[in-house]
């Protein structure tokens, strides 16, 4: 349906996912509202694909990733992974689904228990879901350490004895232990040095090729997403603003927010940088507890129209494989656009 590029059945199917966190206030701790961290997100990821999820801090990227793996009890919507309903599974059923879906976390320091040795950390999924003997577990742990490029001799060390990049490799080895099909990478490189980032991203790509993994790659680093992702979803304030194949998105961003994000990426060539005009957004992101009426982005959008302040735009396919939630691409009854599409960014035109 939404994966126009490939004809295969999607591995991950997310429909209208909502994750609202209640706000309690007052003397009686009554529920007075909700932070709409994720508010109606819909996408598919097909087998072997990498979907990049980008957006600024606080837009709900990480919450979205965690909600898909049911690390939170979601407010609404449905998530199907490998044909099984994750969103409404009971605790035991969910536990049996866990091996299919794993996660790599942002902060490799915080995501490893400081009191466990590397071998025990990597073996934890095996302890939980398999009945291997001790020797088989050790062999599997060593095999995983080889796969992620960790020296086997480090198996008895503790996480604090490693560098950031090595710790992230431990986290990746743990995520791989159960042969998952789908891995949510929650900003796996954000806490690493630039030199290490490339190593980890290349490792993730190698593993994807050799094991046929499917990634949801959450990041705020647009250039890294351009490198690794096949399709890119841009999130703003709990909603997806635009979802397009990578090359289309970077060459011709449709949503004004995508355009602003891309124009914020530093341009290494000074001449090109001088020639390009930056879209500089003013104001702050509205509070997800009290999003604006109409389009989420209407308070900061450079090409805002009247309709944007009244009606929330639908998330629609405007070109093959390209989805956008913006009134600029609305069509009237006779098929003409209501507003002329804005020309592409000047920096992109030759």
């Amino acid at each position: 349906m939404l994966d126009a590029g490939t004809g295969r059945e999607p591995l991950v199917r997310v429909r209208d996912l909502k994750m609202h966190f209640p706000i309690h206030s007052g003397l009686l701790r009554r529920r007075t509202g909700a932070v709409k961290a994720v508010d109606g997100v819909t996408f598919d990821i097909s087998q072997g694909e990498t979907l990049g999820l980008v957006g600024e801090s606080g837009c709900g990227k990480s919450t979205c990733g965690r909600a898909i793996l049911r690390l939170y009890d979601i407010t609404g919507g449905s998530v199907t992974i490998a044909g099984r309903d994750v969103a409404h599974a009971g605790p035991n059923e969910l536990r049996r689904m866990r091996p299919t879906m794993q996660m790599v976390f942002q902060d490799p320091q915080a995501s490893l228990n400081p009191r466990m040795t590397v071998a025990r950390i990597i073996a934890e999924p095996l302890d939980e879901h398999t009945r291997l003997s001790r020797a088989e577990k050790t062999a599997r742990v060593h095999d995983l350490m080889d796969r992620v490029g960790l020296n086997r001799a480090f198996a008895n060390r503790y996480p604090h004895e490693f560098s950031g990049g090595q710790r992230q490799r431990i986290g990746i080895a743990r995520a791989l232990a159960l042969n998952p099909r789908f891995i949510v990478c929650d900003e796996p490189i954000a806490a690493l040095d630039v030199s290490i980032q490339a190593q980890v991203v290349n490792l993730l790509e190698e593993l994807q090729d050799s094991l046929g993994l499917t990634y949801l790659f959450i990041s705020h680093d647009l250039s890294m997403v351009r490198h690794i992702a096949d399709r890119v979803a841009v999130m703003y304030l709990g909603k997806i603003a635009e979802l397009s194949p990578r090359d289309d998105l970077y060459a011709d961003p449709l949503h004004p927010y995508t355009r602003a994000l891309l124009s914020a990426v530093p341009e290494p060539d000074p001449e090109a940088a001088a020639a390009s005009s930056r879209t500089i957004l003013t104001g702050d992101v509205p509070s997800p507890a009290n999003p604006p009426k109409g389009c989420n982005f209407c308070t900061r959008c450079p090409s805002v129209m009247d309709i944007c302040r009244r009606i929330d735009p639908d998330f629609r396919e405007v070109a093959p494989g390209r989805h956008v939630a913006c009134h600029l691409y609305d069509t009237t009854q006779d098929g003409r656009p209501t507003a002329a599409p804005i020309p592409t960014r000047q920096g992109e035109t030759p």
């Binding site: 965690r66 793996l69 690390l71 969910l94 536990r95 866990r98 091996p99 879906m101 794993q102 996660m103 976390f105 942002q106 902060d107 915080a110 995501s111 490893l112 228990n113 400081p114 009191r115 466990m116 071998a119 934890e124 999924p125 939980e128 879901h129 060593h142 095999d143 080889d146 796969r147 490029g149 020296n151 086997r152 001799a153 198996a155 008895n156 503790y158 604090h160 986290g171 743990r174 190698e206």
Partner: protein, 328 residues
């Protein structure tokens, strides 16, 4: 190595910790002999514990006291209740190294017997308080539903005045327990229960605070994404990480229990007066403080030094159990 393999091929390289292993990016086969054998955690802990001088002294002294109260009666066969009225009120001498009391009972023998009771009360009451405190702290920190009610319960216990409560407990249950399971065990149970039930609250609060912080750490989330159920989450990820504050509580708890028991004995509400504990020896000694100060000094020093030793030991143990501090 206990069992030597027959063929030398399988013998792991000795002292291979320093053996440089070439870094292999993606899984080149490594020789099995270069892999360190799994290190024994106990050994690591002991190695670190040894480096802490105070802890070593503390442990040494504590072991000495334990041996003294357990094996002392074999080496010093005088009965703590044997009355030699002609030798009463004698100072330290070869026949009575710590002197005798006003009835001519040997104080060394009474110290040994009293130490056994005091240490037993201290260790058991500490274990009980620690168990209750950790249980309630973990439950209320981990399960949001239980938090309110358990913490209010903790507040309730904190608001109870300890000594009056113990006194009331003694008065109410002493006679019935004494009749049911004998005077000494009855009182022992009552004292241990009384101290244990009234001293778990600080541990519970500390543990709850730590669990609340730990619960938000990413490794707990990672365990959840693996599908680790709550009880293994607690035993594998939460408990080992709250070990440090629990350790500190434990050592302070032993000290506290010994002192509370002493206070009870001192008030004459603990064990019967002919049954020595360090606390009751101290109380008996105060009547003769001016003429025979050593009768107060010996039990007082025993209490203080034991408490000090246990505190140092706990300090060293806490450091040794933390892999981040270990090896520094």
């Amino acid at each position: 190595m206990t069992d030597r393999p027959d063929h030398t091929d399988d013998v792991p390289v000795a002292g291979n910790e320093a053996t440089p292993v070439p870094f292999n990016p993606v899984g080149a086969a490594q020789s099995q002999r270069l892999i360190e054998a799994p290190r024994s955690q106990l050994r690591d802990v002991w190695d670190q514990f040894k480096t802490h001088k105070g802890a070593l002294f503390g442990a040494g002294f504590f072991v000495f006291i334990l041996l003294a109260v357990l094996l002392g009666p074999l080496l010093w066969p005088l009965e703590p209740t044997f009355i030699d009225i002609r030798a009463r009120n004698s100072g330290p001498s070869l026949t009575h190294p710590f002197g005798t009391d006003q009835l001519g009972r040997d104080i060394l023998a009474r110290m040994i017997a009293g130490g056994r009771t005091s240490l037993a009360v201290g260790l058991t009451a500490m274990a009980l308080a620690l168990f209750l405190g950790t249980l309630i702290g973990v439950l209320s920190g981990y399960f949001r539903r239980l938090d309110g009610i358990l913490m209010r319960l903790t507040d309730l216990f904190l608001a109870l005045p300890l000594l009056p409560l113990l006194l009331v407990m003694m008065l109410l249950f002493r006679d019935s327990l004494r009749a049911a399971i004998g005077p000494e065990t009855g009182i022992f149970l009552l004292v241990v229960l009384g101290i244990g039930v009234t001293s778990w609250m600080p541990t519970a609060r500390i543990v709850r605070g730590d669990v609340l912080a730990l619960k938000e750490r990413e490794f707990v989330l990672a365990a959840r994404s693996i599908g680790t159920p709550a009880r293994r989450m607690i035993t594998r990820h939460i408990l080992p990480n709250v070990l440090s504050p629990v350790m500190v509580s434990a050592t302070l708890g032993i000290a506290n229990a010994i002192i509370t028991e002493s206070a009870l004995s001192f008030l004459g509400l603990g064990f019967p007066s002919d049954y020595p504990t360090w606390g009751s020896l101290l109380r008996d000694g105060t009547d003769y403080l001016q003429s025979y100060p050593e009768r107060v000094i010996f039990p007082g020093a025993a209490i203080s030094l034991t408490v000090l030793a246990v505190n140092y030991m706990g300090d060293g143990l806490r450091d040794a159990l933390d892999p981040r501090i270990r090896g520094r």
